[in-house]
Symmetry: C2
Subunit: 365 residues, 2 copies
């Protein structure tokens, strides 16, 4: 290779920390020689009840038609989301791959080299990756000691180049909501956009989505990967002001939501029984985990709990659980999370009991 | 809305011409009150034989597991592609949504505001959209009168800011290959990357993919949307030098290929019977169309033919065919294509006969 070829790569790229995905069952089976059926995957906040049976039926029904392109803008899914959310279709964008696709689109819509995005950390790491990949400078702001967003720090970080403030609510990995008055304050002082990531909102007591009707700079991102149990199909959506949807659609990759995703997503929205069951399982399960895991467990509005294993190290605890076939998430790869936080997806009752039992055993590490 | 909000949008965005997708059966049924079963869709270069039956089986088998995330880098599909192409996995990237996802990734990897890409037109319009969306200046170069790439014009367009030259082979919409010596010449004089789009290569007599082994700046893009009949699942892939894959993976959106796409794509690769049948149908059909459509029909190495309906207008001919339930592609939206070119996907024998008959009837327009 000519050395000069590396000059073709945008200079921001070298500053990107690789995204660290949760481990798969195959990873663990390979690493520790375990029986795949004995492994439980509680590291990626998936739905332990599986996808909605109605979504599975829709997938099977549409399988013979996957030779045909989907609609370019997933209009059928957007219409179904309109019914689900109460927002008109002109406020809704369906996105793939997942909500990440929406974040990618938003970055390329707004970021010119050197523009800034504000990220209160620790939080979902893809904001920073997408920002850097698009040439933005991520301005990382620490949260308060209870992981609440430090509104004053966000305001101090604001500059004339601020394009987007990322707020995750419930926050990944801490599980807490951003209070509505904090979002209002930020939307009012920033001249940028406020992206509210509500990937886990179905498990929460409240949503911030009504703010889209009040502010012309708030976008809410949602996903089918968590409560709807369709992580494998990579479907997200955004609710945003009409002016922003018009601009967004100019940069959206056409056909970014697949035929399978449109069919399954639309059906999942109508399966309120599966959704309700999934939410109830999580609400009971997270109380159970909080009560019985013998470490500090934070209150959570999501389908996971964050556990502080100090004075132990998250790495050691996760390694110990992995060896026993329990995949949880070491939060050390989340910037600003320190080295003693572990994120555990709420599983079935039986899975949760196994988690509790094994956390008990690591106490003596 | 505060007027100033529009300042948040990157200025390049306003120059993007919206992507014009092929019309769907629903569009036509709605517009002309036709029976859906009477409409034939030959506007989007889909596979008229449907998806591979093995891919359909794989989709059905994996439907109950779509609550689980796919591997972040679609490694199973990459391994299968390695077997299919003969390239090692370190040269292969799987991408979603479709090959467009690969183009998006390549643009964000390389383009800083004001960098240039060279596009010999008329060609697939998404190169220009993706380039502008990422802040690049597309340098549009006319093709020769026979739609061959004008290598001299590409060389004249080269500048110190050239990052990518897009070559579509077989070209959409003209159907001709780029001769290997032209690709070599361009790869040698450009200091940028050469992106060779081989979306239609399975229908062609030859491929340019071996050049990836010889040049450190050639990338070949491929898709499952055409010969493999999986347009609805949005799967593409790229074959590129190892150094470039390493850089690319830093900006790739994680999990961009869905569980459904990995399962169906892997199975489709092993279904050589369906692939062979699909290719044979196209090779016979394009000869038939060339022989019988009573206008100038260009030689094609793809699963479509380009028809010059001059002195008629493409718009009028397409409108007339649409009214009769035949969806073909008016190429007027392809920059540099003029107003008399129509692209017709090769269909089944019966569909092709209907096409020929109806082109006969429009002669008198």
């Amino acid at each position: 290779m000519l050395l000069s070829r590396l000059d073709l790569i945008k200079k921001e790229i070298s500053s990107i920390n690789e995204y660290v995905p949760g481990k798969s069952i195959e990873d663990i089976v390979r690493a520790y020689g375990l029986d795949p059926d004995s492994v439980i995957k509680l590291g990626s906040n998936e739905n332990p009840l599986g996808p909605s049976p109605m979504a599975v039926d829709a997938l099977i029904e549409h399988a013979p038609q996957v030779n045909i392109y989907p609609s370019a803008d997933a209009s059928e899914l957007v219409d179904a989301l309109s019914g689900h959310t109460g927002f008109p279709a002109h406020n809704i964008v369906a996105s793939g791959p997942g909500m990440d696709g929406l974040i990618d689109g938003l970055m390329r819509l707004t970021i010119a080299r050197g523009d800034e995005v504000i990220i209160p950390m620790p939080t979902f790491s893809y904001y920073e990756i997408a920002a850097r990949a698009n040439g933005a400078v991520p301005v990382l702001v620490e949260r308060n000691v209870d992981y609440a967003v430090d509104v004053k720090a966000v305001q101090d970080a604001e500059s004339s180049r601020t394009k987007v403030v990322f707020l995750c609510s419930p926050n990944n990995p801490s599980g807490n909501l951003v209070p509505v008055e904090d979002v209002r304050a930020i939307a009012e002082f920033t001249h940028g956009l406020v992206f509210v990531d509500e990937a886990y909102v179905e498990f929460a007591d409240s949503s911030l989505v009504h703010l889209v009707n009040e502010y012309d700079n708030i976008i809410v991102g949602r996903t089918f990967s968590k409560a709807f149990g369709l992580a494998g199909l990579r479907i997200g959506y955004g609710i945003m002001p009409q002016w922003l949807k018009s601009e967004y659609m100019r940069v959206a990759t056409p056909f970014n939501v697949s035929v399978a995703a449109i069919a399954a997503g639309t059906s999942a929205l109508s399966d309120t029984e599966h959704l309700t069951k999934s939410i109830e399982l999580v609400r009971e399960g997270r109380e159970f985990l909080k009560e019985h895991i013998p470490f500090e467990v934070y209150d959570s509005q999501a389908n996971f709990v964050m556990v502080d294993v100090a004075p132990l190290k998250a790495r050691d605890v996760c390694e110990s659980l992995l060896r026993k076939g329990i995949i949880v998430r070491d939060c050390t790869s989340f910037l600003g999370a320190g080295d003693s936080l572990v994120r555990v997806t709420v599983g079935t009752r039986k899975q949760n009991e196994r988690v509790v039992e094994n956390f008990g055993e690591v106490q003596g590490l």
